[in-house]
Point group: C2
Chain length 201, copies 2
Amino acid sequence: MTAEGRPVSVGRRGRRPGTSTSRQAILEAARARFASDGFAATTIRRVAADAGVDPSLVMQFYRSKNELYAAVMSISPDTLASLSTAFEGPDERLGERVVRAYLGVWEGGADSESLMAMLRGAITNEQASAQLREFIQARLLDGVRSRASDRHDAALRAGLASSMLVGVTMGRRIVGVPIIASADVETLVALVAPAIQSVLT
Amino acid sequence: MTAEGRPVSVGRRGRRPGTSTSRQAILEAARARFASDGFAATTIRRVAADAGVDPSLVMQFYRSKNELYAAVMSISPDTLASLSTAFEGPDERLGERVVRAYLGVWEGGADSESLMAMLRGAITNEQASAQLREFIQARLLDGVRSRASDRHDAALRAGLASSMLVGVTMGRRIVGVPIIASADVETLVALVAPAIQSVLT
């Protein structure tokens, strides 16, 4: 009911009937499957079967298992993409791009609360932790475009840089140490970007 | 009872009667006082009054409020000292000293489980988080020996370096991403020490 006492109109949805129901069924099937089988063992085909839809519909909605997992965690494809994109491109100012991308999505972005919830979940719940570690491992290995011989080294470097930046966010937002939390973004970039550059290159 | 059926002897204690009781009373009073008033507002004098002992006895047992808080968290003075000491001394190889000290106490040291429990507690419990942030803030500011004008900058740098290293430990031991968890110590030192050096100097 509105304040005036009229019944609230549900209004017209932007999508044709059935689409949002299918999306919801896919998300629920994916959440259950990731929880029971873990991220690595879950397949798009299996989630589609659980949801009673065709696998192509899952791909049409979510494009990849990574994005499906992110959607289950209420994290948008844009947020995933901005983290991945920062690691690409020339080495020059790589550290700065990565630091700005992390601070952007973890501290101010639309999904910062979802990211924080995902991290807290992994810290307090072994099942959530197992899913997250498999997801991160897959993303680290997928994200590396170098030759096979350097692939492990590049993925380790990206993983360490990411861990260090999540550590900074924890110091600022989860533990909330005043001297770290009150530092402005430009000060952080100036102090941290050369360090991240050195880990990555 | 032993396997042979003899009663277990309590044996002679190394301390005179009453000492372990006083220690226990002080620790319990400190735990309650840190929880109710926070780390910053708690005083040795107040803990002594709560425990019914003289403040000098608290100082004799624990030497400082920092060490008393650490004792409440089951962390030894040696562990605290090894973290502080790493930041002292010449700039040369400072990053390496700090990385080795962190990996030593967080991953292999006698108190690594206590440190992990303290971190998990702060992540899941707002009261524990408030205590820990005040403790870290005080340690960061106390640990800095430079001139007043640079004190804030030096404390911020030490706080960021510590956050980054706790982030690496989280990636390895709490989330447990395989590619990060399986890296050996010398590989980590080679990749991370130059980054920590750059944040600190």
